[in-house]
Amino acid sequence: MSRIKEAFAGKKAFIPFITCGDPNLKVTEQIVLNAVKAGADLIELGIPFSDPTAEGPVIMEADERALNGGVTTNQIFELVRSLRKAVAIPLVFMTYANVVYSYGSEKFMKQASEAGIDGLILPDVPFEEKEEFRSVCHRYGIDLISMIAPTSEGRIARIAREAEGFLYIVSSLGVTGVRSAITSDIGGMVKIVRENTDVPCAVGFGISTPEQAAAMASLSDGAIVGSAIVKLIGQYGEAAAEPAAVFIRTMADAVHSL
């Protein structure tokens, strides 16, 4: 069984997102190790991009802080290699097409795979454009994770049928960031997913409280939380590892209590 499949086996998954290099890679490493202890089932590692068009202000600013600190893709591969000595849960990269394409897709996947990466999320690569990346991912045993949005409607079945790893269900319109309420018909989207694939699906975008995380996970197979954690890291900076762990534990417990 792949590490990603295992993460969803017999339980709801809690998936935190962390921007690599914010405030620096040493702190990122501590946060990831703490997140594993706090109950994370899978971790999304963000490779910062200069112009992240799918992100709200919180992750945008984290990307900026990380890049200003000089973090590079090569250093992030190094971080993953180091993490893999202690971390058994799946790790997936989330970044933008140009970070991969410009590095050289082949070279990128080879390095990522050797470092121990299980999957890749590219929010600016939709179904129609996925093949040029997916074919390379497959050569290196990496799942290219697809997204479904509230506007996907007739596209959901098609995307689900070709899904691998897990499906990322975008909870609402707009960019990443905290929302007071999620009004999309998540249940309706999950129903179409289930009819077309047995790949698990997790809901992300706008989840910031244990109640929201539990509600979204109860409708699907898991909850993804990014901005709320990244915001905390922004607040605490180099001292973020502890408060991030406390927050992640609260969220993970809420999801696992289902």
Binding site: I148, R155, V170, L173, G174
Partner: protein, 395 residues
């Protein structure tokens, strides 16, 4: 153009899933209306009665005699309503948006010309309008900010990144993902995801359609070259389009080299960039070794963009068009020269094309002609050119 919105390997639809149905809906609507006689009648009527088309092809006699060589014709897009070529695309997209039942237009703007044009069309069609503009550019182009507000638009300064055109595009895309059902993103150049590069080109192609008729009327034969400035590249592709199959007509795009292509303060994408994927398209981009988009620089807010439209990238790949760098200094000299010699104050963007034409015309013979597109008027640039020359003036 090949399948799926590609120009060779360039183009495509690299956008979040949230926007996919919106661009598909746009493509369907465009395919439904582009050959519709009623739609085209309405658009032609707007072009002629409202925007003041056709724009003149003016023989620049004094420039031609002074420089020697080819006879220089200026395509006067600066004489359009709102003072630039941007209105051509905006009227087309606003009409299309109206047919699609959209009631709100959002746009990005660099120099402010596209923002003013969009605000103008929104006023004309009774639509709501929000324009995203880099904070840096709101300072450089304060007059255009005032005009947009006067026309009833909301102007949102963008403070992220370099606070210029690329950040305005990113923010407009983010806004579109949050509100799609009543909103059309009126993209201002031949860039972004398919179908925008095609739609914008088709609406701007009126420029070369007119040039062709006008130059044949004036000279009895095609020009030796068509020259236009290139940021994203909408006035250039509009000027080139109906000459692409005429291999004897050289097509020359003038990129903003800023302080020079051997410096970091440049925006010359073809000359200094490399292949990448950004803002919905595969094309050439100024970027670092890890694919982070580079901060770019030009005296011209309208050319201050780190990418280029995918069709230009393709014309470059196949060798059909040449893309040459023009520095701030050369553009400012042309701005001053054309003002003094022809009594025409060109936009600083257009001055990049004029600067190259000044070097190129003397290399040709007197029985040849060249056409230079004056994409916009230069009123908006007087303050920054004066500052460049060390003179502080206030409006």
């Amino acid at each position: 153009m090949t399948e799926h919105g590609r120009f060779g390997i360039h183009g495509g639809q690299y956008i979040p899933e949230t926007l996919m149905n919106a661009v598909i809906e746009l493509e369907d609507a465009y395919n439904r209306y582009k050959d519709d006689p009623e739609f085209n009648r309405e658009l032609t009527d707007l072009f002629n009665q409202y925007a003041g088309r056709p724009s003149r092809l003016y023989y620049a006699k004094r420039m031609s005699e002074d420089l020697g060589g080819a006879r220089i014709y200026l395509k006067r897009e600066d004489l359009n309503h709102t003072g630039a070529h941007k209105i051509n695309n905006v009227l087309g997209q606003a009409l299309l948006a109206k047919k699609m039942g959209k009631t709100r237009l959002i746009a990005e703007t660099g120099a402010g010309q596209h923002g003013v044009a969009t605000a103008t069309a929104a006023a004309l069609f009774g639509m709501e309008c929000v324009v995203f503009m880099g904070e840096e550019d709101t300072r450089r182009q304060a007059l255009n900010v005032y005009k947009m507000k006067l026309l009833g638009a909301e102007v949102i300064p963008v403070t992220t990144g370099t606070a210029t055109l690329k950040d305005a595009v990113s923010q407009a895309m983010r806004e579109w993902t949050s509100r799609i059902s009543d909103t059309h993103y009126c993209l201002g150049s031949v860039m972004g995801p398919h179908p925008f590069p095609t739609i914008v080109r088709d609406f701007q192609a009126v420029i070369s359609k007119e040039i062709r008729e006008q130059i044949l009327e004036a000279e009895g034969k095609l020009p030796a070259a068509v020259i236009a400035c290139v940021g994203g590249g909408s006035n250039a592709i509009g000027s080139f389009y109906h000459f692409i199959d005429d291999s004897e007509v050289k097509l020359i795009g003038c990129e903003a080299a800023g302080r020079g292509i051997d410096t970091f303060e440049t925006a010359a994408t073809i000359n200094t960039g490399r292949l990448g994927i950004f803002h919905g398209m595969k094309s050439y981009f100024c970027q670092d070794a890890y694919g982070q988009i580079a901060p770019v620089y030009s005296i011209s807010a309208g050319l201050d963009y780190p990418g280029i439209g995918p069709e230009h990238a393709y014309l470059h790949d196949i060798g059909r068009a040449d893309y040459v760098p023009v520095t701030d200094e050369e553009a400012v000299e042309a701005f001053e020269y054309v003002s003094r010699t022809e009594g025409i104050i060109p936009a600083i963007e257009s001055a990049h094309a004029l600067a190259y034409a000044m070097k190129y015309a003397p290399t040709l013979s007197g029985d040849q002609s060249i056409v230079v597109t004056v994409s916009g008027r230069g009123d908006k640039d007087c303050v920054s050119v004066a500052r460049y020359r060390g003179e502080e003036i206030s409006e």
